[in-house]
Symmetry: C2
Subunit: 270 residues, 2 copies
């Protein structure tokens, strides 16, 4: 099911600035038994991302109405919300009073192997480096060619995710996920002030990990730090959290904190 501004519709205008310039933002979230997991945080993040691009954010009740119509058809699915700056005249200048377009759609839950949860995943380091752009860093905007090019580097189905470094050798995260590493009782995740997407699951883990007696720290991470970590984890709203068991020649054995962090995410879904 796809709703465009609340109407069942499969199409948008060819003149939409979302297509022309990637002028918009999006969110991907889980519906579970009809409920949008971590909705408050998703909406707060959508608002913050819209503000970064000076986009008017759709009212929360409109989006909730859209989501409940989606949920009525597909109570367990992946929901995607796109907000664009709508139709504009030719040229980069944003309209003074944009009429934003909101698109809410559903897709089936992806079927990842059970082994990803039980044993962890194999990851690779992408050759593609992320550019450093503070004006857009952290925002889940529609300019995602870097992710597309990075994800196109491999076809091997045994590799579940690719890690992205930026042009200054800092580790930023996965193509579609945020990264955590653990050193003893400290959970570290990359600072996203120059590139990357600051996901909702990352925020939830940062907020909740202290319940497991873990300190959390947001800082610059390098590949040597990652390779030396005791545990490496990737997260997003759809996958939850996966442990990395192999990256190149480096192996990590035993699940350690990942299952407990997953339980935290699953128990506490507001």
């Amino acid at each position: 099911m796809i709703l465009v501004n609340g109407e069942p519709m499969q199409h948008i205008s060819v003149l939409d600035r979302g297509l022309a310039y990637g002028d918009g933002v999006f969110r991907t979230l889980l519906l579970r038994a009809g409920n949008a997991v971590a909705w408050s945080l998703h909406y707060a993040t959508l608002m913050a991302d819209c503000a970064r691009l000076k986009l008017p954010c759709p009212a929360e009740d409109l989006l909730q109405e859209d989501l409940s119509r989606i949920a009525a058809q597909a109570p367990d699915c992946v929901a995607k919300i796109i907000v664009t700056r709508g139709v504009g005249l030719r040229g980069y200048a944003p309209p003074a009073h944009p009429i934003c377009v909101r698109i809410v759609s559903s897709s089936v839950l992806p079927c990842y192997p059970q082994a990803y949860l039980d044993d962890g995943i194999v990851a690779r380091v992408c050759a593609m480096r992320l550019a450093r752009q503070p004006a857009l860093a952290g925002v889940k905007h529609l300019n995602r060619l870097e992710n597309v090019l990075a994800r196109s580097e491999w076809q091997d189905a045994d590799i579940a995710e690719g890690l992205l470094l930026d042009t200054e050798d800092q580790v930023i995260g996965g193509c579609m996920s945020n990264l955590f590493i653990r050193q003893g009782k400290t959970l570290l995740t990359p600072a996203l002030s120059h590139s990357g997407v600051a996901g909702v699951t990352r925020a939830r883990l940062l907020a909740r990990a202290p319940q497991l007696d873990l300190r959390v720290q947001v800082q610059v991470l390098t590949l040597p730090m990652l390779l030396a970590a005791e545990e490496v984890m990737l997260c997003n709203s759809v996958i939850g959290i996966w442990r990395v068991r192999q990256l190149g020649d480096t192996h990590w054995y035993g699940a350690q904190y990942t299952p407990a962090l997953r339980t935290l995410l699953e128990q506490d879904i507001d």
Copy 2:
């Protein structure tokens, strides 16, 4: 008039990767008396840009057919060609065999003040800095949020264009144009190996300026070099070439080479 894959249509699928990720490229060109100005170079550039993103490029005769249908309705207009990777499943991985979408549309010729041609324009330096991304530099792709944010910095109608520097203080070009500066008999334009769009009019000027006994040079340019130049010019397929007469407190007097370069562009339209 808008043609989507050759059919008159105003809409595209909400699931198009051009919208989801900006996964596509575009071109903007002039139709004059029904002819696409500098078509061969535009098509060659479209092919090269598609290759950079590993997108199949639409066949030349299909695009020419689209353009002649546009031209039949609007012999003098701005034509825009968009090529996207088409509809995909959720996720960044590009489909192995994408069914690309081509969109050809027209819009009216913009009405710039005659004074822009006679006297030159006033430009500003944007606060926004371009990120350095060699994988995408030069390509006219659909990830244009940097241009949108830069263009949103000013509303003053007397300022015709904003200049963009990158995060390493190199001058790259205008929000919607390429930049040339002249020092004696040498015409210099920024190297676009790390950011910016390598436009067709830039290529045409590089190829033709030697006819005016000007040497051309592609190199790193800085703002002090620009401010010290004898002549500063901006170009694209729609505006042709404009002289900058003022940038902040710096003024340039007298047209010098700009009219002759404009004549070169206008005479030789293949």
